[in-house]
């Protein structure tokens, strides 16, 4: 599904990713852990096509397509979804209007018929319920005045509506209390599917108690320095990132 080979990228003239390789098959959950500044968020941004990130080497193939040549919106339409660490507040643009525009563009790309407003509203309300967001959130500005947990639940709701093939969760656990974390994790788990893969980027092991990964990778200084099963996360929690860095040295 996703094949990253020797990816190198820089931001503002600074090399961040220095030869990252990763293969993800349909249905797999990969956790990417690592110390601050290792390039975890950069990976999500580069994959989703954010401007300002310059790819200087390597390839990324998503379902056989070279996504590095695509605009952000084309990647989203191809089935790539980034759940933001800090979802943006957009006053004046209603959540419902945003979601409908988003779903419409993705359905159009898939060659599916546009949903009617009524049909869509029903669907959006149902998804709200699943992530425990009040329906009134549909009427409010996108993320406007939402709490940290509400913003993350809104991200998960978007994921449910867009039904992507690959979801990148960028530090989705940051700033969440344990209850909110559970709601978010349940939302993610409900979306597990043999054809859908996840990259869970996190600094802490606790999220992985709720979203259990198939593989754990440690990212340090722009590269994956260690890979293993879910037990690697526990080991990391216990020994700290300095353990990996020490081993590498």
């Amino acid at each position: 599904m996703l094949s990253i080979n020797n990816l190198q990228a820089k931001v503002e003239e600074k090399d961040i990713l220095k030869g990252l390789s990763l293969d993800i098959k349909p249905g797999e959950i990969h956790a990417i852990m690592g110390p601050n500044g290792a390039g975890k968020s950069t990976l999500g941004n580069v994959l989703s096509g954010r401007e300002g990130y310059e790819v200087t080497g390597g390839t990324v193939s998503f379902d056989g397509k070279n996504i590095l040549e695509m605009d952000a919106e084309e990647r989203a339409r191809e089935g790539l979804f980034l759940a933001f660490q800090y979802p943006v507040e957009i006053p004046g643009v209603s959540n419902l209007e945003f979601l409908k525009a988003s779903v419409d563009s993705i359905r159009e790309h898939r060659g599916e018929e546009a949903m009617s407003s009524v049909e869509f509203l029903k669907l959006a309300r149902a998804k709200c319920k699943l992530v425990n967001l009040d329906q009134s959130f549909l009427k409010r500005g996108v993320n406007e005045g939402f709490s940290g947990g509400e913003k993350k639940r809104n991200e998960i709701m978007q994921m449910m509506l867009l039904e992507p093939k690959l979801c990148i969760l960028d530090e989705t656990d940051s700033g969440l209390d344990i209850d909110a974390l559970q709601v978010v994790a349940e939302g993610v788990n409900s979306q597990r599917d043999p054809n859908r893969s996840f990259i869970v980027v996190t600094h802490y092991q606790r999220l992985l108690d709720y979203i259990v990964p198939d593989f754990v990778h440690v990212l340090a200084d722009g590269k994956i320095v260690k890979s293993g099963g879910k037990e690697l996360a526990l080991e990391l929690e216990e020994k700290g990132y300095s353990w990996i860095e020490g081993e590498e040295a």
């Binding site: 989703s48 096509g49 954010r50 401007e51 605009d71 952000a72 919106e73 990647r75 989203a76 339409r77 979804f81 980034l82 933001f84 979802p87 943006v88 957009i90 006053p91 004046g92 643009v93 419902l96 209007e97 945003f98 409908k100 525009a101 988003s102 419409d104 563009s105 993705i106 790309h109 407003s117 009524v118 509203l121 549909l138 009427k139 500005g141 996108v142 978007q158 867009l162």
Partner: protein
């Protein structure tokens, strides 16, 4: 090419007009003031950012051909707006396109349609509030005014239907100046909604619309006032709005300024007695090479009055906008609460905005705030939308619309709001596919 002397031409034209009617003394006084006022240049402080050079290149005193109102309904009809309507085409009242329903205590009449008793009253009132001695275009309006709308609401009367005044210009008025006038008087505790709409037929016309509105709002009375401009890109618009607020009275104003080549609106509100409230909300969306200039002057002359001004503008292409908001707190105006906010979005690096909020305070116990911002589309918000499959172009439109949506949502007249949404969305693109998501306001109720 010999430059046209706008003043000279206008004076010659005004002097030649047959001003022997009931407004003779206003016309004469206006002409005198007009002659005394200098033609504004870029050195004139109030006109620093608006060039009137166009007026010196062209003679705007051609005579107006007759035209009728048939086929123009599409320009002004608002679905579900149950209003009393007065339609003027090129300054001439069209009874056949108008509909007025009588209500006790509500007087709505054209100047020319009034009987001699009412005309005498009109002559005694019109021009009393307008500061023609300092505004060239208002002086010219006084000099030329012939017909207009006179609205008088009796004590305690709540006007049931909005009063919708439509001013249309067409190619029959090409290279002419069209004069329009409105006078509103609300007695104690009266309440009315007045919508002034300015539209053009879709044809090259190069018309100057010169319009003046005066409103005298009595003790405890409230006027909801709308000004909606969506004129042809070749037309010019110069307007003055003069409002007098009495004890505990309220003025609520919504201004939507679209279209036109050059547009200038001066709006002056006097808090004369105390306890009055002024609320103004305005949106301007110039594009192409359009120029829009709003000057607001709020005079706090008495204590315990409040003013809230919120203006938002989005400038596209090579357009220009000017916002000058002045709030003047006189020494007696203690316990004033005044706030002014002007936010601007530039969609192109060739567009400009000159914004100047001004507070002048001579009282010591007041609360005032003012602020102006100029920004471009937020990159983070744009990326967020794009990462959900929304195209960059559509994202920009959604974000632009979002920028003014808050003001639009606050329009209390549902029918008008529903009319304005697509009109404003169209400002950003003619591609309906890209604006369809902006137009489903009521689906939440589905």
């Amino acid at each position: 090419m010999a430059a046209v002397d706008f003043n000279q031409q206008a004076v010659a034209f005004a002097s030649g007009a047959n001003n022997s009617g009931f407004l003779k003394s206003l016309n004469e006084q206006g002409l005198k003031e007009f002659k005394a006022l200098p033609f504004p240049t870029r050195k004139t402080e109030d006109w620093k950012y608006t060039s009137l050079f166009a007026l010196t290149k062209h003679d705007y005193n051609q005579s107006i051909q007759t035209s009728d109102a048939s086929g123009l309904e599409i320009l002004y009809e608002v679905a579900d707006l149950n209003a009393n309507r007065l339609v003027f085409v090129n300054g001439v009242y069209k009874a056949e396109a108008s509909s007025l329903e009588s209500q006790s205590g509500v007087l709505v009449s054209t100047f020319l349609g009034a009987d001699s008793v009412l005309q005498a009253e009109i002559a005694s009132k019109v021009g009393q509030s307008a500061e023609s001695d300092r505004n060239l275009f208002t002086a010219l309006n006084n000099a030329q005014v012939n017909d207009g709308v006179f609205i008088k609401i009796d004590k305690d009367v709540q006007v049931q239907k909005p009063i919708h005044i439509v001013n249309i210009t067409t190619a029959q008025a090409k290279s002419s100046t069209v004069f329009a006038r409105c006078f509103v008087e609300l007695a104690q505790h009266a309440n009315a909604t007045v919508i002034e709409q300015f539209v053009s037929s879709d044809e090259e016309q190069n018309v100057i619309m010169n319009q003046t509105t005066e409103a005298n709002i009595g003790d405890g009375a409230k006027l909801n006032h709308y000004r909606l401009n969506s004129e042809h890109e070749s037309s010019l618009h110069f307007a003055g709005v003069y409002v007098d607020l009495n004890r505990d009275s309220q003025f609520e104003s919504y201004q939507v300024l679209l279209g036109g080549k050059i547009k200038r609106l001066d709006i002056l509100v006097n808090h004369n007695v105390g306890g009055s409230h002024c609320e103004m909300k305005g949106v301007y969306l110039p594009k192409h090479d359009q120029h829009v200039d709003i000057h607001s002057y709020i005079e706090h002359k008495a204590p315990n009055c409040t003013t809230s001004e919120v203006y938002r503008g989005i400038m596209a292409d090579q357009s220009n906008a000017v916002f000058n908001g002045r709030i003047h707190i006189h020494p007696d105006a203690q316990k004033t609460f005044a706030e002014l906010s002007n936010k601007n979005l530039l969609l192109s690096n060739k567009a400009t905005i000159n914004t100047k909020p001004e507070l002048e305070i001579y009282a010591d116990d007041v609360r005032c705030a003012h602020g102006a911002t100029v920004a471009q589309i937020d990159e983070q918000a744009r990326f967020y939308l794009r990462s959900r499959g929304i195209s960059a172009k559509q994202a920009d439109i959604m974000l632009s619309f979002g920028f003014i949506n808050e003001l639009l949502e606050s329009i209390p007249l549902d029918a008008l709001r529903m009319k304005m949404r697509p009109l404003m969305a169209e400002q950003f693109t003619s591609n309906k596919e890209l604006t369809k998501h902006l137009l489903h306001e009521d689906e939440e109720g589905a």
